[in-house]
Amino acid sequence: MPLLLRKVSHSRWKLPGDPSSDALRCLLTDRGDLSLWSVLDDQANLDDIVTALASNCEHLCKIDYFMIPQDQIEQLGIRLEAVGGATPALRANRWHIDAKDLTARTLAAIAHAMYVSGTHGRKSANQIKALLANALAANALERNSMKPSLLAELQ
């Protein structure tokens, strides 16, 4: 069963509140849709997805994420739909998925599932820099779609 990945900020999930309601800021939706990424069982595409997320940033930073088995989300009655991502990582965009038509209740349920049974991951800014540099060297990123401020930090 694949995993679903969501970019978050772990500092926020570690504030008091088990977790704090501030953690919900990491789950901003767009017209009821939540952006997720599908990670293969063997996590072979994990670095590609993290690189895609980093390549979409305005500046170099660490990337935090939660991963949760897809079936746990589906058991919440949430509809998932493959929707191509919009990052400079053209080949990784196919792993993008939207959780559709979320309500406040289902969003809170996703947050709870992530917090209770999600797998936490983090790549430091240095690790991200290396991933982006390798991806650029391998022509895996569309340079023109990247923010100039980020590219400047990679020089």
Partner: protein
């Protein structure tokens, strides 16, 4: 003669500033002041405080001004400290050695007292020296000093107001890693404007639990990321201090900030923090950052050796 409700002891003749390499905090400063001021009716207890705020430092310097003013004769007031204090206070800085030399050269009676601050702007000292009565009065330096103190106080008041606004902005900002938002842009702007004073006020507000934890976390990350040379060492000190915060989320944000800053000098603090960290995720990241800082330190040493 009184100022601020306290008695002023007449100046002592022939007092020389100890040419110590540096003032240390609190007690030692008080001892120095006591040796210079045998009847410690003026703010010795104040000097002994272990927890100086910028306001207290400013107030003490202001007291120096009052002593000078009430003492009638023309006076000279010097401040000394590490360079960051000039950012915060605008007070002209002299080294302790300079002051000692100056006093010796002038053979003036003098009162010197050190002012230290928890804000780590370093030691500041004020010297009040008197010329013989009847000499021409020149208050230019005092007027300048008074203006600087007033500016510093105004800056601090403004910085409090700025943080209140930033706290409100943070409440509605997305604060997504890697993206600028209203909060990060505003904080960058204000840090450039207020320098170390903004950091000092941040620390005060955090200690008083007056800033939302999410605001604190986002600010700490940005403190590590922003390129602002004038406050670099102050930000480094602040982030290092917050590695010991009681909230795991705040310690994590401080570690993230230090990873962005990539300052090898933070290595020892990071290793020490990792050793006692109770949250396994935060601990793991601290170890990662320590490893990266260790590599950076080795590279810096190799580079330096190559130059030599």
């Amino acid at each position: 003669m009184t100022t601020s409700g306290r008695d002023i002891v007449p100046y002592q003749q022939g007092l020389i500033v100890p040419d110590a390499p540096q003032f240390t905090w609190g007690t030692e400063t008080a001892q120095i002041a006591a040796s210079l001021y045998p009847k410690p009716r003026f703010s010795i207890e104040h000097l002994a405080s272990e927890s100086w705020s910028f306001y207290e430092a400013t107030s003490t310097l202001k007291d120096a001004y009052h002593i000078a003013r009430l003492g009638a004769p023309p006076v000279t007031v010097f401040g000394t400290g590490i360079p960051q204090s000039s950012v915060a206070t605008g007070i002209r800085l002299y080294s302790l050695a300079d002051i000692a030399t100056d006093i010796q050269d002038l053979r003036r009676p003098a009162i010197v007292f050190g002012v230290t601050g928890s804000l780590a702007i370093g030691a500041a000292a004020a010297q009040v020296s008197a010329k013989p009565a009847g000499a021409p009065v020149s208050n230019t330096l005092i007027a300048n000093f008074r203006s600087q103190v007033q500016n510093a106080e105004a800056n601090r008041r403004d910085a409090f107001a700025v943080w209140r606004r930033l706290n409100e902005v943070a409440l509605v900002s997305t604060s997504e890693d890697g993206m600028e938002d209203e909060f990060t842009l505003a904080l960058k702007r204000e840090l450039t404007r207020y320098g170390a004073t903004l950091l000092t006020v941040f620390e005060s507000l955090c200690a008083a639990d007056k800033l939302a934890l999410n605001t604190q976390a986002e600010a700490l990350k940005l403190f590590g990321r922003i390129k602002h040379f004038g406050t670099r060492s102050r930000r480094l000190g602040l982030l290092t201090k917050f590695l010991g915060n009681q909230q795991a989320g705040i310690r994590d944000a401080a570690a993230v900030g230090l990873s962005y800053m990539a300052e090898p000098a933070a290595l020892d603090s990071m290793v020490a923090a990792a050793a006692v960290e109770s949250d396994p995720d935060v601990k793991e990241f601290m170890v990662t950052v320590a490893r990266e800082l260790g590599i950076a330190r080795t590279n810096a040493a190799s580079f330096a050796k190559g130059i030599a």
